[in-house]
Amino acid sequence: MLMEKTLRLQHGSMKAIVPPRKTVEIKDYSIENFKPSGNNLLDEWRIKRLSEYATLQFPYWKRTGLKRLLLPNISHYKGPENLDELGIKVIDSLDFEGSDRKFVLLADIFSLSGRYFVHSGVKTLILEDFDSIDNSLVIVENGTLNLVRIVKRALFVGNLRILLKPGAELKLYNLYIGRGMDESSPLISNVFVEAQEGSKLLVRDFYFGGTINAGYFGLRINGENAHSDIRPYYLGVGRNVIDILYLVRFYAGNSYSNVDAKGVLMDTSKLIFRGIMDITSGCKEAEAHQSNHALLLSERAKVEAIPSLMVDEHEVVASHAASSAPVDEQTVFYLMSRGIPKDEAIRMIVKGIFETLKDELNNLDESLKLGGLIEDALGSVVG
């Protein structure tokens, strides 16, 4: 299958013109940095990727202000080195454009951490051991997988590909907690998922910290009766730029997807939210919704919401909604009328936005109480 472009720019006989890609010069890797994995199948695939990688320069990423990048030394290769023939087929087919092609290829070729596994049965898996460049593949063969990724890093460029086989269920929690102190250490994550017939997908993403926190989530719905419930949460502080894109492309009808983003922006933080629900021709009775609701706690915080509904079929339901507003004065008044001071009332409202996420994380594993991560993040900014 060809690479999944973020936007399909051809409609019938009409074709949109793509502006030339602007680039910046950043000291880059070359063939000398290529470390063999010991897996011939994987290395053949990586070398193919390398030939494309070498033709691309790093993007001039105006939205995030990314102009520099401190790439780590590549001393070894680690990633999905145990890939088998099935794995190679899947990793090759799950190819999306991503936040930028250069970063997708970079993680594919030069990863320093990563894994490949095929899941069946019921399991909760918590992953925290990420290096600065990560590449992973998960195939959910059957049953239910609860996968929690806690990415606490300064620089991070990571790819995660997931194939959700017919009837399989996945709950995916990506907690992106940036540690970067300047623009040269962004946190860039690309997640590509294919959902097959009757599969169920629940995604919760949490973006917090760092300077540039960029997430790309691409979902290809490739079977009927697939259900996906995707909720990105963000908490922007300082001069944090959160640039997130959610693409759901339907290749099968009678399926449901909802992307419901919400969060809080403080100080001079900025959110760029792009939601693309793309229903291709023939996907009858598909249902696609997307929304973004941002609470602004500062007059200097900014939101750029760019919703797109691309619908090539008549019998579908599709919707989008977006809002960005300060805390509702009357809701604060309601809480104050119960004796709660204004700053505490606002804190309750802000924390409330993340309460469902916190509860879900706590319920995943009673002993680990992962909701504490959200509590800590909130505590560090709103007390």
């Binding site: 009328s337 119960r338 709660i340 309750m348 924390k351 409330g352 469902t356």
Partner: protein, 244 residues
């Protein structure tokens, strides 16, 4: 006197037109007063101005609570003095659980005189008495509540928080007869416990179940007529024209 409203004039912030045009009202401790009036007469505005809603601006007059002018107090300070308003349309607050709100509020109003467990147990018994399931306490405040549940939720709050003066803004709207009777009985219970009441309503039907000391007919931003409970029935029979 628990509440004394003197020549109160108020408007929406940024607008010119007065909504309260010289309200005079006195409520003695332990009394229940009812304000009746047609739609748009400014009854809810009076309730909101007493509670200190920042949407409104007082341009003249005074509000005295237990002898102290409260005009310069913030809403939370007024609540801490002992005033509580139940809302006609209570606000939804995602992520804030009902018990979390009430336990936080209780501690603000009454300090730490009871343990968390004592408070929670008290709350559960109030919720059960009002005919709501205990799980109600775990739900986010007013989110997905039916109209009746919202009103009952406000009553749960009033019972639990034990204000000195409770202002009920159209607590009866949207309630069926059984729910109305239950809510009215709860309000009587609150009064018996020593709370003074200011009940704002359109209709006299809730008065059939309420223990009321005084009724005021409120027209066009001021109290036009006052009397006992019979005044409410007269309004019911003849309409608000009797006070115009």
């Amino acid at each position: 006197m628990i509440l004394k409203v003197e020549n109160l004039k108020a408007k929406i912030v940024g607008e010119e037109k007065l909504i309260l045009k010289g309200v005079e009202l006195e409520i003695a401790e332990g009394e229940a007063h009812v304000i009746m009036g047609p739609n748009g007469s400014g009854k809810s505005t009076l309730a909101n101005v007493i509670m200190g809603n920042p949407k409104y601006e007082v341009v003249d007059g005074d509000i005295r609570f237990l002898g102290e002018s409260i005009l310069n107090l913030r809403t939370d300070e007024r609540a801490q003095r002992g005033i509580m308003l139940t809302f006609q349309n209570p606000y939804e607050i995602e992520g804030v659980k009902f018990d979390q709100l009430l336990l936080t509020a209780y501690r603000k109003l009454h300090g730490e005189d009871k343990t968390f467990f004592q408070l929670h147990s008290e709350l559960k018994s109030i919720v059960s008495e009002i005919g709501l399931p205990v799980e109600f306490l775990e739900r986010f405040v007013n989110l997905g509540f039916s109209g009746g549940e919202r009103k009952k939720g406000e009553i749960v709050q009033a019972r639990f928080l034990k204000p000195k003066l409770l202002i009920l803004d159209e607590i009866d709207s949207g309630l069926d007869v059984d729910a109305l009777r239950l809510v009215a009985n709860q309000i009587n219970e609150i009064k018996r416990a020593g709370t003074s009441l200011l009940v704002i309503t359109h209709y006299s039907r809730i008065l059939n179940f309420l223990d009321v000391d005084r009724v005021h007919v409120y027209i066009d931003g001021r109290i036009a007529l006052s009397g006992d409970k019979n005044l409410a029935y007269k309004v019911e029979a003849d309409g608000y024209s009797i006070a115009r």
